[in-house]
């Protein structure tokens, strides 16, 4: 499997970029040349130069430093939101798939209902009621993004639970939770991994959209979305305020999508030829 992964150029490119961006965010204090919140009124809206690689904003803050620190926020929102979505999705999906019958019907109708809401507006409404803290944003993105995972896991478990090794585990005296956790979920996790990888890219985009609309991560904490928003008003005179964070969002989401697509090819080789 490792070899298949190394052969897949898309997946590899995606992974390399993701690792680079993670290192970037982990070592932010060493990489960023300035304090991201440092206001320098003498250098307002300077264009990219040797001192300020990506230029400065309306308060004279260094854009490069803000992007580096912003990557911490954007990436962790991506990871944790998707982590929450996967936890909820795997739990509800496996319970629905394993027990079937009424439990399945009720849970899957609930999934249908959740899918009817336009997600972004639901998130907007919830964030408007609660305060727009980073924690709330993670939870809300996660809580509105688990339905796909639940459906995937349920479908996998519906076929897997008929296998003899499940009956064999039952004969051995395994409990329901043991069978679900140890026998079914490890066998069903492949498609979920793919969907989660694609989901991280999606979650980063949602966070950017929220921040762009002004109800995401609140200033002065930098996130890619709110750096982009800061640049909106001066787009005509200072292109670097929007282009650079935009490129980072684009490349990161693209990297996650490449990795996700690549993983899908590796885990489900049947789809490759189509």
């Amino acid at each position: 499997m490792t070899r298949a992964f190394l052969k897949n150029r898309f997946a590899l490119t995606g992974l390399v970029f993701i690792i680079a961006i993670i290192i970037f965010s982990l070592f932010a204090p060493f990489i960023a040349p300035y304090n991201p919140s440092h206001i320098d009124t003498k250098n307002i809206l300077t264009s990219p130069s040797k001192d300020h690689l990506f230029g400065t904003d309306t308060l004279g803050r260094d854009i490069f430093s803000r992007i580096v620190y912003g990557s911490r926020i954007s990436l962790s929102i991506g990871f944790i939101a998707v982590g929450i979505a996967v936890l909820i999705g795997v739990f509800l999906g496996s319970v629905a798939g394993y027990y079937g019958g009424k439990i399945d019907s009720i849970l899957m109708r609930f999934v249908d209902i959740m899918l009817c809401f336009p997600t972004l507006f639901l998130i907007l409404a919830v964030i408007a009621i609660l305060e727009p803290s980073i924690f709330n944003i993670m939870v809300v993105i996660g809580a509105t993004g688990w339905m796909g995972v639940a459906r995937l896991i349920r479908a996998e478990i519906l076929t897997l639970k008929e296998r003899d090794y499940v009956a064999a585990a039952k004969v051995m005296g395994a409990s329901d939770s043991w069978i679900i956790l140890r026998h079914l979920i490890p066998n069903a996790i492949g498609p979920v991994l793919v969907s989660a990888t694609l989901g991280i890219g999606g979650a980063i985009l949602v966070e950017s959209s929220l921040s762009f609309l002004g109800i995401g991560v609140q200033p002065p904490t930098p996130s890619w979305g709110n750096i982009l928003m800061d640049g909106k008003s001066t787009l005509g005179v200072a292109w670097w305020l929007t282009i650079f964070p935009g490129i980072f969002i684009l490349l990161t989401v693209l990297a996650y999508n490449l990795l996700g697509e690549g993983l899908r090819d590796i885990l489900e080789p049947r789809l490759k030829d189509e």
Binding site: D164, Y165, A168, A169, K170, M172, N187
Partner: protein, 262 residues
């Protein structure tokens, strides 16, 4: 003295789909200690479901609605989950038809065997590993030390079935259910597995329910035979009586079909 290890009385397992399917419809048989009881019949006659009912492994929409399954003096159908758990896998165990689905593809053979041992025996992991290796050796897996660390997809069908048998035996059960243990294998491997089962039956003094659609295999392995048709045992008795003197025309037809082939 009660020398019967299992008594099944009037067992009824129905499936409640759009109509009621009477998959097992009033089956009764006894198995004495150390006896091999064969259940023979065509596909869909209820052989496997009888065996699964004995272990209470029937999933909805199926349900065992009537009967008694008396194992060592206690009725399994009246037993609660916890007591049943002590019996399943340790005192009664099962080998399934298709070895490719009977093992979990994401764990090594060793891991799954140790899990089976630890589920029923109070031993530490080192002991459990020793016991697992001992049983893998007992079923004549040549490189049992290597196979221990292999995943199911790295093994051949025959080896996988040997592993399933080892896993069913590792807790020294008193009653073993063999559900068409050779059907998914090709003929030469079938013969090897049957030899192995012969040997194990003699060595371990097991009582066995042997399920097969092949009268040839049943004739070779069993002491008593029950012929199943449409959810009922239509004829049962000593193997030789049934083969020489079949009373039902269906049994005669089954026997004829084997002769016609050989």
């Amino acid at each position: 003295m009660n020398d019967k290890i299992l008594e099944v009385k009037n067992l009824k397992t129905y499936f409640y789909t759009s109509q009621v399917i009477r998959a097992v419809d009033g089956v009764s048989f006894d198995i004495k200690k150390g006896e091999v009881f064969g259940l023979v019949g065509e596909s869909g006659s209820g052989k496997t479901l009888t065996a699964l009912s004995v272990l209470k492994l029937i999933n909805p929409p199926g349900k065992t609605i009537d009967g008694q399954i008396i194992f060592d003096g206690a009725d399994l159908l009246k037993m609660d989950e916890d007591s049943l758990r002590d019996i399943r896998g340790s005192r009664i165990s099962i080998v399934f038809q298709d070895p490719s689905t009977a093992l979990n593809p994401v764990f090594t053979i060793g891991y799954q065997m140790i899990e089976a041992v630890l589920a029923h025996q109070k031993v530490n992991r080192v002991k459990a590993k020793g016991l697992s290796l001992e049983y893998l050796n007992k079923v004549h897996i040549g490189q049992h030390k290597k196979v221990f660390y292999d995943y199911p997809h790295q093994l051949s069908g025959g080896t996988k079935q040997r592993v399933s048998i080892a896993m069913a035996l590792v807790n020294s059960p008193e009653l073993l259910i063999l559900d068409e243990p050779t059907t998914a294998l090709d003929v030469t491997i079938q013969a090897q597995i049957l030899d192995l089962l012969d040997e194990i039956i003699k060595e371990e003094h097991l009582s066995i329910i042997f399920i097969s659609h092949d009268f040839g295999i049943i004739a070779r392995m069993c002491d008593h035979v029950g012929v199943m048709y449409k959810g009922r045992i239509i004829e049962q008795g000593e193997k030789y009586d049934i083969i020489k003197n079949p009373k039902e025309s269906y049994t005669r037809n089954l026997l004829e079909s084997v002769k016609a082939l050989s």
